[in-house]
């Protein structure tokens, strides 16, 4: 079986679902012959034609609104925002229509759509190409916000997102698009959208993260292990609706929690997890909850961007502070 990267797993999931479900269509800018600027849709137009792999006019609002219309008519559109930093013009259509269509029509009309976007920084890209804004969507009722962190999870979660009867924001951490390869059987098996994944068992501290930061967080867990600290690593994967139980169970065991994310700190999704820990798990905690995040600044242009992104060192330091507290 071939070893594939995260981006190839995205392509593999799209191809699988388009082959098995005629109602699945892909639309966006440059998704056709060019196969997307990251090649996520490479080869799909040749296989499925220009209508099912549709190059749209260069207007994000059009992509989002047309996606709503397609979905209401029973298609399963997978729309691509070329970069997450370009998603703002889509937000009215996503928030006012995609996310609330089912509710506002009492289930008469629904929007089974996926909005994909290459997400996050760390690839030395130009301005507006490195944003991490998942928290802007986790506060919108009616959306699922999903972020894979490995080729296998990208494949299984994207299949689940396309099959889901409601709209899903599918943010792809582009920094790890080609980080490594793994075997991903093209068997059409979806992963659940309502669970966090425990990637590594541990007993001393729980490291909670998602997306590209899974890489640094796992490396931090290795470094901590060398220092005799046993870290459990949770990949949230589906931010909303949140499987808080998995996080709570882990923190009940470790008594310590470090939340790692790339987006700015204030009102980032880490704040929600920290608040839930304070509400529901305060008596399990042996130390204050730590957050290792981007700063409350715009992500700098790329000469400085690695100083902005959470580093292994920052995660290790935070974990050690929780250990020192008790």
């Amino acid at each position: 079986m071939a070893q594939i990267t995260l981006i190839e797993a995205v392509t593999q999931a799209l191809a699988y679902e388009m082959k098995h479900d005629d109602s699945v269509v892909v639309l966006g800018e440059d998704v056709g012959l060019n196969g997307g600027v990251f090649r996520a849709t490479q080869g799909l137009q040749e296989k499925f034609g220009e209508l099912r792999v549709l190059d749209t006019p260069l207007d994000e609002t059009t992509i989002a609104g047309v996606t709503v219309g397609l979905a209401v008519q029973g298609m399963k559109p997978v729309a691509e925002a070329q970069f997450e930093g370009f998603i703002y013009p889509m937000m009215e259509q996503i928030a006012c229509h995609a996310a609330r269509m089912r509710n506002r029509t009492r289930g008469r009309l629904t929007v089974p759509a996926v909005f994909r976007a290459p997400w996050g920084g760390g690839i030395r890209a130009p301005e507006h190409h490195s944003e991490a804004n998942e928290h802007l969507f986790t506060n919108i009722p009616g959306l699922r916000v999903v972020m894979p962190s490995s080729p296998a999870r990208a494949y299984g979660l994207l299949l689940a997102a396309i099959r889901d009867p409601d709209p899903v924001m599918f943010f792809e951490p582009k920094r790890i698009y080609r980080q490594y390869k793994e075997e991903v059987p093209d068997d059409g098996e979806a992963l659940p959208l309502d669970v966090c994944f425990v990637l590594r068992d541990g007993t001393d501290v729980t490291l909670v993260t998602w997306g590209a930061q899974v890489k640094e967080t796992l490396e931090a867990a290795d470094a901590l292990a060398e220092q005799g600290i046993s870290a459990e690593v949770i990949d949230v994967a589906t931010l909303t609706p949140l499987d808080f139980d998995t996080i709570a169970e882990s923190v009940a065991k470790t008594g310590r929690c470090v939340i790692v994310h790339e987006a700015p700190k204030t009102a980032g999704f880490g704040a929600e997890i920290a608040a839930r820990l304070a509400e529901e798990c305060i008596y399990d905690l042996l130390a204050p909850v730590e957050r290792v995040t981007g700063f409350d600044t715009h992500i700098p242009l790329f000469r400085l961007e690695m100083k902005y992104l959470p580093s292994v060192e920052r995660v290790v330091d935070a974990a050690k502070r929780t250990m020192a507290a008790s």
Binding site: G65, V66, N103, G142
Partner: protein, 361 residues
């Protein structure tokens, strides 16, 4: 001088403000006087419905309501031209089109009366139409997406969106007609130009002499019609629908009319427009000209008018009663339609709200 391309915008009118026929080539549907009487009756019932809605709001039985006074020809002209299998995406005052397609007055009352079930149209073909779209112009792209779905599946259906003069300023409108042109989609976009976007007049929306011509930039067929003349609206709609259905492309129709009422019941138009202008608007309103024309054809008269109004009153009273008798949804309804199934995390909030209810009772 070399001309790269040249365009013109046709203006279409059959009946002038007094109901005098200004051209002889009546379309086929207008030669069927029984049908024209039916259209007039629906325009009249729309007006009766609208007055009833405002009365409900004034007596505290309805929230904010967006009136359709003066738009009856435009709206009924749009709705009556469509086939059941077509799809309509409106903004929020196109009741004449919607009643024709099966939306019930009680559903309008429910929506403006604070109940999501108003958007759950029960009767076909309205049941597969879009619900009211308050964010301006966003519905145009839903129609474009629907038209794309029809094209992908090879269905001979047309998506129709309606939009105001103000809405035609928004990117969603331009985006919709742009992709319709680029992909040759079966889309008909109707700009119901009623001269006012709340307090902002038509001339502030655009420097273009017609709003119809916006469609030229998208490569669509464009026409401006007298939006108070139902024959003109209906004819332009029929032609546009036929073009779209047969794969010949989309259209932009500008129906020029006048908003005789306030923007909504929360608005007071006296703040920004003079009486003389409104009086001028009334002199061109759509009911009178069609009534005069039908009376001259001897298929309508005062007695029939009064009898139909009485029927409409009874119909609306029934609808109002049905609306007023509707029980408020259970409080859990706010959770039950967020996703296909209530997620575990959300179920906890639902249970909490339910426990508050149970405690209160």
């Amino acid at each position: 001088m070399t001309i790269a391309a040249k365009f013109e915008i046709e203006y279409l009118q059959y009946l002038d403000a007094e109901g005098k026929q200004v051209r002889d080539d009546l379309p086929e549907f207008a030669k069927d006087l029984d049908h024209m009487v039916e259209l007039y009756k629906l325009m009249l019932s729309t007006r009766v419905f609208d007055a009833k809605s405002i009365a409900l709001q004034r007596t505290g039985k309805l929230g904010t309501y967006a009136s359709c006074l003066g738009h009856e020809a435009a709206h009924v002209g749009i709705g009556s031209a469509m086939k059941p299998e077509d799809v309509l995406a409106v903004s929020y005052r196109e009741y004449g089109a919607q009643l024709y397609r099966g939306v019930r007055p009680r559903e309008v009352y429910m929506y403006w009366g604070g109940d999501e079930r108003g958007n759950d149209y029960q009767q076909e073909p309205a049941r597969h139409d879009f619900a009211w779209s308050v964010p301006i112009a966003t519905q145009c792209l839903h129609a474009a997406g629907s038209a794309l779905a029809f094209k992908i599946r090879g269905e001979k259906r047309v998506a129709v969106c309606t939009i105001g003069d103000g809405g035609s300023s928004k990117g969603d409108f331009y985006g919709a007609i742009n992709i319709a042109g680029a992909q040759n989609l079966p889309l008909v976009a109707v700009i119901v130009n009623n001269q006012w976007a709340i307090s902002v007049p038509r001339k502030i929306q655009s420097g273009a002499p017609t709003l119809a011509q916006k469609g030229i930039a998208a490569g669509l067929f464009c026409i401006q019609v007298d939006g108070n003349d139902i024959i003109a609206v209906r004819k332009a709609m029929e032609d546009a629908l036929e073009r779209a259905r047969s794969g010949k492309g989309g259209s932009v129709i500008e129906a020029v009319t006048y908003r005789l009422g306030d923007h909504t019941t929360a608005d007071d138009a006296r703040r920004y427009r003079g009486e003389a202008e409104v009086k001028e608007g009334w002199s061109k309103e759509p009911m009178k000209r069609l009534r005069n024309w039908l009376v001259a054809k001897k298929v309508w008269d005062d007695a029939r008018e009064e009898a139909w109004k009485a029927e409409c009153d009874e119909w609306m009273d029934n609808e109002v009663n049905a609306y007023l008798e509707t029980k408020t949804q259970p409080v859990t309804a706010m959770f039950d339609y967020i996703f296909a199934e209530v997620p575990a995390d959300l179920a906890k909030q639902r249970d909490y709200v339910l426990s508050l209810e149970n405690k209160a009772h």
